[in-house]
Every structure is written in structure tokens, then in C-alpha cells.
Amino acid sequence: MEYQVIKAEGESRSFPDGSEFMSNASESSEIVVLIGSNAGDALGALSDQESKRAILVELGTECLALHTGESRGREGSNILGFARFRLGNDAPSDLVELVCQPNSSEEAIDSAIQLFKEAGLEVSVCRDFAGRIIDRLVRPYYNEALRRLDEGLATADDLDLTLKLGLGYPEGPIELLERSGLADHHDVTKPLFEVYGERAYAPARRAIVAKQRTQK
């Protein structure tokens, strides 16, 4: 499937420089993929938007609506959002979260799914909410693991071991956060706390300390 890539300013977390996805792109196509940490800002400069089959905008922690606007719950067009799930500085996972609005074009959604599948990725479709699927679900779990470590529920090793042996998780929460970065966890969960106002998203003490240490 043909697609055009427009690289906006800032490194893309989904498709870092030199990735095959970019070298396989065409000069122009009716499917346009905007990537880079400021991909949404490049949307305004894209001409002839209505004639495209799909315009896919790489998202950070923001909602797609920041770039498209919203209208009484009836928003939606050929412009969709996406991000490959990625923990801290780990390599991007093979999972693309594809962000739709209530009236997103079915054709755009189908094209996007096909395009990413052909690139060897898997796609989960979700609506335009902060944290999409994975961060929305795992950040409370990570915060809770850090809090319960502070409260002495078990040692860090035993917490990790229990979740690996009991549920088959490839990594326990504490080792995962140490590896991918507690400060990074802070940066992901804090905006979710601001949006949802739920304590579960409030950065745990250990994440706050780690963040503060990066600013010393």
C-alpha cells in the first residue's frame, strides 16, 4: 500500500530516523502519515486535505482533537491519530494505537489498519482519550506498585517475582520502571492525572523523586 511520509520537527517516537517505514514511503500518495514530535503542528501546512483517503498524525500524550478541533461529539474526518506504544527509551513496540473520533471515516480507518499491518505492526483501535489504551491501564498499576513498595508489602524482588510467576508477565513492575525510567513514568502519568483527576494516576513518590533528581 502506498503512503507518503511527512517528517515534522522533532524525533518520531514511533518511527525513529532511518526506520524502514520511512524508506518505503512514496513521494506522494492519497494516504499521508505525519510523524515527528510536532507532527500535529504540520497538519496546518498540508494542502488539499479533503482529497486524501487518510491523514495519520503521530500523537504524543495529547489528544487528536488538539489538532482537529471538536464539535459537539460529532467530530471526525479522514484525519486519525496514531502512536506506537513505547516505554521510555525502549524500542517502539509492534503495537499501534489508532485514534478515532466518533465520526471518523471508515475508509480512513481501514486504510490505516492495512497500512500498519503491511509494515508488520498490529493495530488496536481506540477513541480519542488521554492515555489511549495501554498507558491508561498500566500507569495506575505502576503507581500502585511503587506505593506498595514504599509501604513494605513485599521486597522489590518479591513484587516482581510474584507478578511474573503468578501472571506470566515478562517483567515485574519495579524492574520495568527501573529499566525504562521512573522519571519517564512520571512524565506519562502526570498529564493523565491532570486530565482524569483520579489519585490512581498521581505520580507515586518514587517517580516524583526520580523526576526531581533529573532537574537538580
Binding site: F85, L137, R148, A154, D158, L161, L163, G168, Y169, E198
Partner: protein, 291 residues
């Protein structure tokens, strides 16, 4: 282990049968106790079926299995447990039932006998309170299916003697299980994290953020979990999830532990998961729920 030679498992249901397999396989004389001979006979049949598969898979020989089975004694007479050094209770998850059982066992068993509880949601200190020997009661939470899963969460109650805990720990290791030490707080480690996480998943689906299959795919592919949370919930049973919510929310008042309305509706509609053929997924037609 020197001092523990004979053990009993009280309750020959899903967990008790599995735990008795673990104990007998590790070389302990093992009594499997339940209220009726019928239940014992049913459990014995399932246990024999399990070992037949172990032989077919080449994990055990016929001789080993007959030796293991000769160490297993099913009984519905509590007096038969008089020689046990440790009793693991896996009866119904009901404080009164557990108190009644342990209170009676306290009269039958010798002074040194340790009582271990496999409870998932009750407090070890509370269970110990009705045992007549609260210094010799310990939490020993096996995972389902016990005969295959290595993890055991072990927790002392407020009055548990350190010596009791150490003995039970060493016994657990001699079962070739992997004990981890945790506290006597609701859900110990595993369920403490899993129950609210699964509720979050249900709320996400209820609020229309994503369909069950999209959530499962995201979690498996994005994080490498072996099962998606909706698949897992269908396996655990949605009615079980409701009971876990009720038990935890009652104690913790954590809003994440509160039972999501969608979960209650699904249980009311008999969509309990695999056991009724329909939960988040439809197991008869292999089609999706919702959409």
C-alpha cells in the same frame, strides 16, 4: 523437612485437589479431607486423571505415580487428621466456615500442628482468631491451577509466631514451590494488583474507549503479557471477579476495587465467561461481545 511429615488438605475442591497433588508428589503423606465421601471420590478421579496425563507426557513413570497415589488418603472423617503436622485449609471462602473447621481441627490435632490458609480475600489474622491457636496459623496462598503454578504468597497474621512462619516457609520450599513473603492485607500481592487492573479494563470498555479485542491485542502486543485481560477475565469467571471486588472494596474502599456497573450487568445476563459460553467473547460462535 524434619518435623513436617504428614499433611492434610481440607477441602477437596479446585484448589484443595491441586494442593494435595503438590504435597503427595513432593513425598508427604497427604490426607485430602472434605465433608462427603462423594466429593472425595470425585476429587480422587480427577487427581488420577491428572497423573495419567503426567505419565503420557513423560513427566512421571507409572511406578512413580502409584507410589504418589499410595501416599494420598481421601477421608471425610476429621479424626483421621490427628497425625498431621500441618493442615492447609482450602474450604469455601467464608469466614464462618473456616472458623468452624479450624476450631474443630484444633481439638483433633496435636499442639504442634500448623494451620495454613489458602484464602484469597479474607484476613489471616481474622481466620486465625477463630482457630484456638492463632500463633500457629499462617497464610499460604497457592495460585490456580495449584498443581502447575509454582508461586505461593505467604503471609503471617498479627499473632503468627516467627517460628511458625519459618517452618511453613521451609515446608513450602520442600514442596518445590516458590514462596514469597507478603503482608496480611487484602489480595496479598497478586490479587491486590490484578483485581483493580481488571476493573479498569472493564470501565475502559464500558466508557467506549476500545473494544475487548482491541484492549487484549494492545496489552499482549504492547507489553508482552501472555493473555489479554478480557481473555483472563472470561477464564477467571466474571462472577468470581464480582466476589473479589466485593471482598476488597469492603475492606479498602479503593474506588478502583469497586465493582464496575458493566460487570454487574454481564453477570446478571449470565455472561460469566467461558463457563457459560459467553463473556467478553462468545465461545460458541467465536464472535465478539459488544461491537
Amino acid at each position: 523437612m524434619d518435623d513436617i511429615k504428614t499433611v492434610a488438605v481440607a477441602g477437596a475442591g479446585t484448589m484443595g485437589s491441586g494442593i494435595s497433588i503438590v504435597a503427595a508428589r513432593a513425598g508427604f503423606e497427604t490426607y485430602l479431607f472434605d465433608t462427603s465421601e462423594d466429593t472425595i471420590a470425585r476429587a480422587r478421579k480427577q487427581i488420577e486423571g491428572f497423573f495419567a496425563k503426567s505419565v503420557a507426557k513423560g513427566k512421571l513413570t507409572e511406578e512413580q505415580v502409584s507410589e504418589i497415589l499410595s501416599r494420598m488418603h481421601g477421608t471425610s472423617k476429621m479424626e483421621d487428621l490427628a497425625s498431621c503436622d500441618l493442615v492447609i485449609e482450602a474450604v469455601f471462602e467464608d469466614l464462618n466456615v473456616k472458623h468452624d473447621l479450624l476450631g474443630r481441627l484444633n481439638d483433633v490435632c496435636p499442639e504442634h500442628t500448623i494451620f495454613a490458609s489458602n484464602t484469597s480475600t479474607l484476613s489471616i489474622s481474622e481466620i486465625a482468631g477463630g482457630s484456638g491457636r492463632s500463633d500457629r496459623v499462617v497464610g499460604m496462598h497457592f495460585c490456580l491451577p495449584a498443581q502447575l503454578m509454582k508461586l505461593v504468597e505467604m503471609s503471617p497474621g498479627l499473632n503468627t509466631a516467627e517460628e511458625t512462619f519459618k517452618k511453613a516457609w521451609a515446608f513450602c520450599e520442600s514442596l518445590k514451590q516458590k514462596p514469597v513473603r507478603t503482608q496480611d492485607t487484602p489480595g496479598f500481592i497478586l490479587n491486590y494488583f490484578l483485581v483493580p487492573f481488571n476493573n479498569d479494563v472493564i470501565r475502559l470498555i464500558e466508557s467506549g474507549v476500545a473494544e475487548p479485542a482491541d484492549v487484549d491485542r494492545a496489552i499482549k502486543k504492547g507489553l508482552g503479557y501472555p493473555m489479554g485481560p478480557c481473555e483472563l477475565l472470561d477464564l477467571i469467571g466474571l462472577d468470581t471477579q464480582v466476589r473479589l471486588c466485593e471482598a476488597f472494596y469492603e475492606v479498602t474502599k479503593d474506588p478502583r476495587a469497586a465493582c464496575p456497573p458493566l460487570l454487574k450487568r454481564m453477570v446478571a445476563a449470565n455472561r460469566l465467561g467461558r463457563k457459560t459460553g459467553q463473556g467478553f467473547y462468545n465461545y460458541e460462535q467465536n464472535a465478539m461481545f459488544g461491537g
